[in-house]
Symmetry: C2
Subunit: 342 residues, 2 copies
């Protein structure tokens, strides 16, 4: 049967000072009133029923995620240490397999915005079907809507069966010219939405992913701590998909957004007539192109352009908008007592 | 004997959201640890002794000013309504005259920064001497240090006696080209530092200032309320100095600054190597030319230039630096519950 593994880790610095390790973006009402982790469960529930939704997260977030999503404790898997996506998905996949020998897995992230949940489910359903049909690892490629240099790209190859195609190659974070050329040639964004049968995934990991292949036995024995202690952290893209020759892709177009950083809000929330995207008590005067968020303290912007301004958790951030994706570089130079939120 | 009248009214919006009607700039430690109202008293005390310092202010500020300066109640004159500078100085001058028939008055403002208090006292002393010597209204002209379009200018004329000169004319708030021409021709800033004998001031008011001449009788009768109810508000510059032919000027150069608005801090406080002037817990990263003030909440600036950023009294202000003097225009469009401070 179909299962969903939702990856819900993440240290939560991209939306500082609103997000924090204990209040990461997947638990914040960023794009709308519903936190994305809750929206993710709601989006897949019609597909697989609630009982076959697993979430993988860290110790700090397990309880907040259980409370927010209503998932029972045995469906929220708590990694003892963060080890990137390949070990997390190996654990999620193994857990599903132990409960259902015919498990097929849909893998997604808890911090996405899904603009078209119906379209998302249609694509997810097609990916799960293709994973079984072709006994392959399916990666869903998102039709690009802008020249994005922060994502990985999938270059699709020959059609295999209907919408399912070979993968010619992956390309991580290209420069702008390369991204433009990739998009012109029909490349897709590598979203992190995958589908595979549990058995095929584990077979491919054993063959291609030495970083964790030798540790899978600990998962089979139920010794999760030892598994995470012994693996080498690696992403499923680098550790498996770029190495396996059983990877296929299908294209999806369902208003996907990874809500990467503050500047993403401009894609997800309506702007005022001056191009400002505002949340909370923010007052603008002859200002444009700003993204501003207040958790209650009034913010007044006057005569300024293209700024990100945030008041949250007892901190004020004023950032040039172009630096949204680079916020970490600023946080790295802050004293810990300022960076670390109360 | 010499007396000082310190004008300490003012509604306190120029340093919003730090200043407020109850906490105006003259009571805030803007340029240094000492509020300017306290510094003003300290600056003139060696000149006239404490007992001959009068302060004129409004009902809200009387008690805070008494506490901050230590002046006794009978030296803090409380205007029932604000009516600009001519009525306030008429009251201050009349009060001094009632206590001292030979009173000579030095008039100044409580919100100035005096970079060189010794130089200030030398100039003040010379102004008081000239007021008696020439039985004239003396206006001290400040040697300009920049092309300022927000001030009034004094165009000095022929020398009268040493440093004392005639006044050819006054010029209010010139445009930039006019200001440059004025400065090139030797014009001085009209600071608001004046000196006169009480008797000459009142004689000139009777002759030239119909806005309050007929009301002076109420001051003589001790009916301050009726005086303020019956006068027409007018500044001493427009209502008297520009009309009288008994006005002389002397030049002064003592680090005078009217601390007009947030951008003034850049003249009064040292900048860091990126040209940022910061007060409180403010952290900058690749940012320059900013003026930032925090009353405790950490502010982080990243990749921004020439902004004024303030967190105070539960408000955040982000203003283009060039708009410092125009802040009122922004405050005017704010809802009262945001503009009015707690």
């Amino acid at each position: 049967m179909d299962w969903v593994v939702i990856l819900a880790g993440g240290s939560g610095t991209r939306f500082w000072p609103l997000s924090s390790p204990r209040h990461p973006k997947q638990l914040l009402p960023l794009a709308g009133p519903t936190p994305s982790a809750v929206a993710a469960v709601a989006a897949v529930e019609p597909l697989v029923t609630r009982r076959r939704i697993l979430m993988v997260t860290g110790p700090d977030l397990a309880e907040p995620l259980r409370q927010a999503t209503g998932l029972p404790a045995d469906q929220v898997l708590v990694e003892p240490v963060a080890a990137s996506t390949a070990p997390a998905l190996a654990w999620g996949t193994t857990t599903a397999l132990a409960r259902d020998p015919s498990a097929t897995i849909l893998s997604m992230h808890a911090d996405w915005h899904l603009g078209d949940p119906d379209g998302f489910r249609r694509t997810a359903d097609a990916a799960l079907f293709a994973a079984r049909q072709h006994d392959a690892l399916i990666t869903v490629g998102i039709t690009p809507t802008r020249t994005e240099t922060g994502y990985g790209y999938i270059v699709p190859g020959e059609p295999v069966d209907g919408a399912v195609r070979q993968v010619t190659r992956f390309r991580e974070k290209p420069d702008r010219a390369t991204a433009e050329a990739l998009i012109a040639s029909g490349a897709l964004w590598n979203s992190g939405l995958f589908a595979w049968t549990a058995s095929r995934f584990l077979a491919e990991v054993r063959q291609h992913t030495p970083e964790l292949a030798g540790s899978l036995v600990f998962l089979a024995e139920g010794d999760v701590s030892r598994f995470f202690e012994s693996v080498t952290p690696v992403s499923v893209d680098i550790g498996l998909l770029e190495r396996s020759n059983r990877v296929l892709t299908i294209a999806g177009d369902f208003g996907w957004d990874d809500v990467g950083a503050w500047d993403a809000l401009a894609r997800l929330k309506p702007a005022d007539r001056d191009g400002n995207v505002l949340q909370g008590p923010v007052y603008t005067h002859e200002s444009g192109g700003c993204i501003a968020w207040s958790d209650g303290t009034p913010i007044v912007l006057s005569g300024v352009r293209d700024l990100i301004v945030v008041h949250a958790n007892g901190r004020v951030l004023v950032l040039d908008r172009s630096r949204g994706p680079d916020l970490k570089r600023t946080l790295d130079v802050l004293p810990p007592e300022v960076r670390d939120l109360p």
